[in-house]
Symmetry: C2
Subunit: 203 residues, 2 copies
DNA sequence: GAATATTTTAAATACTTGTTTAAAAAATAT
DNA sequence: ATATTTTTTAAACAAGTATTTAAAATATTC
């Protein structure tokens, strides 16, 4: 028994995700969501009780989406250079596929952190990955510069995410077209890989 | 002839800057601004015609504030390692003093870039600094890895700005208190300096 | 100091906001 | 088919929005 027509609840959820990511919580109205979902305005509250509850539900999903792929890669049994390369490639792909995601998360958490951290078991999972073991072993046997996960991980992620979050300002500042930016971002990605690996891996 | 009482227009401008930085354009109401400035609601429109016009004026100032110190450092006649170190220290100080500034700029531009770029002569100034000459000379005489300004500058800035923009998420993710974060950020700052210099400077 | 211009005020404007209502429509159960 | 539940609808709600009004208060000019 296959449903050809999507359930209304899911239609609203998906529409809300699109609108929230694009406009943020404050910039989004219930009517925006209803219109995007092509549904009656009252249904958003019928299914989710309030704009706030709908937002919190979606935010949780989005935050997990942000961490999930990275987590998988962090736990892979591959050498550390490959791992760093994969994380950066994954970040790059994510920023191209969902250009609003990271700035959305950063901004919403910055504006009201207390409201947006539920029981995020994914945080614990990030803290306890195979990469952590690799860092400890590498530091012990002298192949890696001694660094904690919280020091190396932002160094890996910030380069790609920063230029994509600030895509428009970088385009304007350095007089790039969209096409220019594409090439530039690819270059930058390789610089970041090389720079981080050079710094972390000894010799 | 010194004014002890601040002019109303300036009181509103300063109040508006505080509120906009904290809540963003969409999250800020005219009444928020009037209340923060302790002035009658009608005065914001009396002096600035509309919330939009007031915002644009403030945004321009904020964007220049973001670039101004960096620009001064970029044009100093000092060796490139010191220059990188100074830029990072300056970024660090800025993020501590104005924690909302960078995420605000990034988010507002991301949401509506076309609306927020006036005749920014400061952009041109950033493109034509002494650092650019240093990069060209260093690449020519083999002391520096050949890189363009648009490649090295984000690498210098992203590390510090990224962890401060995501301060709350980093605190939560790595179970840090505010105090922990302070120490962590200092560590990270030195990692970034070393990593970028190691990568750019040959030998 | 009277006339004029500027600044400030409370109130009203027209409109949008999130949310609720109560009835209609559709789906499900008996 | 009838009764019951679930879903959808148009309309209304009270509160909040940016902005404007016109009069009052203040400052400035002559």
């Amino acid at each position: 028994m296959k449903c050809v027509t999507e359930k209304s609840e899911d239609k609203i959820r998906e529409a809300a995700k699109r609108v929230f990511l694009k406009k943020g919580f404050d910039g989004t109205t219930s009517r925006d969501i209803a219109k995007e979902a092509d549904m009656n305005i009252a249904l958003t509250n019928y299914y989710f009780r309030s704009k706030e509850k709908l937002f919190l539900e979606i935010f949780k999903d989005v935050l997990e989406e942000y961490f999930q792929n990275m987590l998988t890669i962090l736990n892979k049994d591959i050498d550390i250079k490959s791992k760093i390369s994969e994380i950066i490639d994954n970040d790059f792909a994510m920023m191209k596929q969902e250009p609003d995601l990271v700035i959305f998360i950063m901004n919403e958490i910055h504006k009201s952190p207390q409201r947006l951290f539920p029981d995020m078991s994914i945080f614990r999972q990030v803290r306890e990955t195979h990469l952590k073991k690799q860092l400890e072993e590498g530091a012990a046997n002298g192949t890696l510069r001694p660094m904690q996960l919280e020091n190396i991980l932002p160094l890996i992620k910030c380069g790609v995410e920063f230029i994509f979050m600030g895509k428009e300002i970088h385009k304007e500042l350095f007089m790039m077209t969209d096409e220019d930016f594409e090439k530039y971002a690819e270059e930058q990605k390789e610089h970041i890989k090389a720079m981080v690996c050079n710094y972390l891996v000894i010799g």
